[in-house]
């Protein structure tokens, strides 16, 4: 009898131990959390920015580890980082001088060898479209090099200055290890990276710049928004990125802090109006459509009041406070339509990008309903990005017979510089432009070679005016990145060309 009881007790004890071991690592993680845990929505293919094929998911994190030739401040200003520069008078080359005493995480010193290595690696491993206007890079000596251009490129400094990896380290460890444990000059070094799971970073104490406060950080790659939120609420994470709009209020009510960063291009109604046989060839019709859509209501009712309604955000180059979005005025819209001879309305296709972009389809549906109210019947057509890009390039770009109105996100706002969006989406010779205005082209060409920020800002203002006067596009809302954090954490997000960066150096824990 006794032995049976003994066995029972033993079994219970075993069970307790088993349960305890099962849950122990979880408790362990909670203890780690003061070293900061972040739930990040992307899953980078690699943190090596010289070979990544999917920069948008890699950059926000990799920017902690690797650095470009320049730094960008939290206000979006470009300042010397790994190098300072002098622009040649003819603007066809830029001379760079590397900062002295910069060390890679591997202990190697930064020299021009590393610059050439990174340049070649980017050319070999990626599509390297950032080097479209670069002719070559010449080494002058260990610390000086010169970038030669095929044509002046104002965006090189702001946008296309590339990330630098270590040649000596690569030569020592080879491709596989280099990809797994990336070595850069940034304030944080990689301790452990597991694809699709997490990366652990540690402060690099030999960093050339200001020493950040946080020593250890672990970034979990969590694709699902509700799961990121649960991590925050369960206390597993101190901060999460990309909070779904619908959940922002709930998190704020639950006592978390949120930070919003307008970091993405604007969803807009975009016209291809070269074709004289379509009603929207008439500017009055485009203006009528602009007045028929209640953008504020779309933002409030469909997008939880979060996105911004702007042409450009106030901190952007060429921001013009007098350039306003159109008022919602259905009466005026109807009147304009009647003046143009379409009092009874007409039929029109409304293309939108199907797939992963949040709110795009809903916005297109709302636009169709607003237009129905003034008599314009829209046929909604949702296409996958690949098919859409192909059609723009082949069927609609610069085609005087095109029949196209779409809800899309051509980039102007929230880029490193609006000139980027001018070039891709509005300059008539860009392969995906739907706009054709010689006067605008002239301004773009001038702006693309104007290195003086104040003068370029003037040109951007003029360019924006022309687009707005033409009603070539009707901005509705600009996507906003929302971060949520525990109450005792401060963070200043940085934007760099559509990427909302998660720079750990800008995170502080308040005592």
């Amino acid at each position: 009898m006794d032995s049976k009881k003994m066995a029972e007790k033993l079994a219970v004890a075993l069970l307790v131990i088993l349960m305890a071991t099962m849950f122990m690592p979880v408790c362990g993680e909670a203890a780690f959390s003061r070293n900061l845990v972040i739930g990040y929505e992307g899953d980078p293919d690699t943190l090596d920015m010289c070979s990544t094929r999917h920069a948008p998911t890699a950059i926000p994190i990799a920017a902690n580890v690797m650095e470009r030739l320049f730094q960008i401040t939290t206000d979006g200003e470009t300042v010397p980082g790994l190098a300072s520069w002098t622009i040649a008078p003819d603007k066809m080359s830029i001379d760079f001088k590397l900062r002295k005493g910069v060390k890679f995480h591997s202990g190697d010193s930064l020299t021009t060898k590393d610059v050439i290595f990174s340049y070649k690696r980017i050319l070999e491993k990626t599509t390297a479209t950032g080097f479209r206007w670069v002719k070559d890079i010449e080494i002058i000596d260990d610390m000086n090099f010169r970038v030669l251009f095929k044509q002046p490129d104002v965006l090189f400094l702001k946008d296309r200055s590339f990330f630098i990896g270590s040649k000596s380290y690569f030569d020592r460890v080879g491709e596989a290890e280099f990809n797994k444990k990336v070595v850069g000059t940034g304030p944080y070094r990689v301790i452990n990276w597991r694809a699709a799971e997490f990366v652990e970073l540690e402060r690099f104490d030999d960093y050339w710049g200001e020493k950040p406060e946080i020593k250890n950080v672990r970034l979990h790659f969590i694709k699902e928004g509700t799961t990121r939120i649960s991590m925050l609420k369960a206390g597993e994470a101190d901060m999460i990125t990309s909070v779904p709009y619908a959940m922002v209020k709930d998190l704020e009510r639950s006592g978390f802090k949120t930070i919003k960063l307008a970091a993405h291009p604007t969803t807009q109604v975009q016209f291809q109006f070269m074709n004289p046989n379509v009603p929207w060839h008439d500017k009055r019709v485009r203006l009528a459509i602009a007045h028929a859509i209640d953008g504020d209501a779309i933002v409030k009712s469909l997008l939880h009041g979060i996105p911004a309604r702007v042409w450009l955000s106030p901190w952007e180059l060429g921001y013009d406070p007098s350039l306003k979005l159109w008022e919602y005025d259905p009466k005026k819209a109807k009147q304009l339509l009647a003046e143009a001879g379409y009092a009874k309305g007409f039929e029109m296709p409304l293309y939108y990008w199907a797939g992963r972009t949040t709110g795009q389809k809903e916005t297109a549906e709302a636009v169709a309903l607003y237009l129905k109210a003034i008599g314009i019947k829209c046929t909604m057509i949702g296409w996958e990005p690949v098919k859409m890009i192909e059609s723009i390039r082949i069927k609609w770009h610069n085609n005087p017979e095109a029949v196209h109105v779409g809800v899309a996100t051509p980039p102007i706002a929230h880029q490193t510089d609006p000139v980027y969006g001018f070039r891709t989406s509005y300059y008539s010779e860009s392969t995906i432009s739907l706009y054709n205005n010689p006067e605008f082209d002239k301004i773009y060409l001038k702006a693309s070679q104007e290195f003086d920020d104040a003068k370029r800002a003037e040109l951007i203002k003029q360019g924006m005016r022309i687009i707005a006067d033409d009603v070539a596009t009707i901005p509705i809302w600009a996507n906003v990145s929302v971060y949520a954090l525990k109450k005792d954490i401060d963070f200043t997000p940085t934007l760099r060309a559509m990427d909302a960066l998660v720079l750990v150096k800008d995170i502080k824990i308040r005592p």
Binding site: H54, T127, A195, A196, F221, S230, G355, V386, K387
Partner: protein
């Protein structure tokens, strides 16, 4: 038995080849991948250069032949999305995580499904049976992703018992495997219950009872073995369902497995990755079906002599 097995194996191989063909063509139907890989405003020359580099400038049948030639040697090409790495290498790296999850879920659904099914059948119309039937109804009606999200809310956020996501120890495995297994448990429960009820009504069970066998032996040895064939068939189907369900659970619970990887591959039109992934999954799938077919033969002698 040997001929039966051989026939099944050959059929399996043919299926793999057909699957590879379908996935090859289907992944290329959805448009030109170069537009996704390059910035939207890429020039015509840039597009042309990349297409040539990826071998996409050749006609489709030739592309397939090249693919086949390399695939036979185990080379599925390099991934575009995951920076120049061998597609198969990435797939095999992620396979253990998915296998772990699917196996846990499968084990859970077969054990729970059988147990609850038999109990429900033998204790007909009492409390256990009602419970079993209710569970079956809810299980089949409730989508797995909803269950997953609810489980996270209750057990991680409110109670703090289990970690929300990620892969690690057993505590990480509990919620994802239950959310996948849930539906399958219900299906296996239902089919076990109904076939058991049929079998329990039959003459030979009465004989077995009359011979003085204990109820335990009658149910678990005589009745269950005869009821097992449809249950086994159902388990085979459920395995397919589990592999499908894994994709959703992997996304919700950030489980670093194959499903979420292939999904990402599809989004970014990473042909090499999708082909390698689907190839591996179809092999697993066909092997499982084969195993089920062969086990039929073991359980039911009538099948192997056909």
């Amino acid at each position: 038995m040997r001929r039966y097995a051989l026939k099944r194996v050959i059929l399996g191989i043919i299926t793999v080849i057909i699957v590879s063909m379908i996935i090859f063509v289907a992944s290329r139907l959805s448009g030109d991948v170069t537009y996704l890989l390059l910035p939207q405003d890429a020039t015509k020359e840039e597009v042309g250069r990349l297409r040539a580099k990826l071998g996409l400038d050749k006609p489709l049948p030739f592309q397939y032949l090249y693919f086949l030639k390399d695939a036979v040697r185990g080379n599925f090409g390099k991934s575009y999305r995951y920076t120049n790495r061998e597609a198969m290498e990435i797939i095999l790296e992620r396979l253990p995580a998915t296998a772990e999850l699917a196996f846990a879920a499968f084990l859970m659904s077969v054990i729970c499904g059988l147990l609850l099914g038999v109990l429900s059948a033998t204790k007909r119309d009492n409390f256990l049976d009602t419970l079993g039937k209710t569970f079956a109804l809810i299980g089949q009606a409730m989508p797995g992703f909803w269950l997953g999200v609810m489980a996270i809310l209750i057990f991680s956020v409110k109670l703090g018992w289990l970690p929300t996501s990620g892969r690690g120890n057993i505590s990480h495995l509990i919620m994802p495997s239950i959310s996948i297994a849930w539906f399958s448990i219900a299906s296996i429960l239902r089919i076990t219950r109904s076939t058991m009820l049929d079998v329990l009504d039959s003459e030979y069970i009465k004989t077995a009872r009359l011979k003085g066998n204990s109820e335990l032996i009658v149910i678990w040895k005589h009745a269950l073995r005869n009821a097992l064939i449809p249950v086994l068939a159902m388990s085979g189907i459920q395995l397919a369902h589990l592999l499908g369900g894994v994709v959703i659970a992997e996304t919700i619970f950030s489980w670093p497995g194959l499903g979420s990887l292939i999904l990402e591959g599809i989004y970014s039109r990473d042909y090499a990755l999708v082909q390698a992934g689907v190839f591996v999954i179809s092999i697993i799938f066909i092997t499982c079906n084969l195993a089920v077919d062969l086990i039929y033969g073991v359980i039911d002698p009538r099948i192997r002599y056909d």
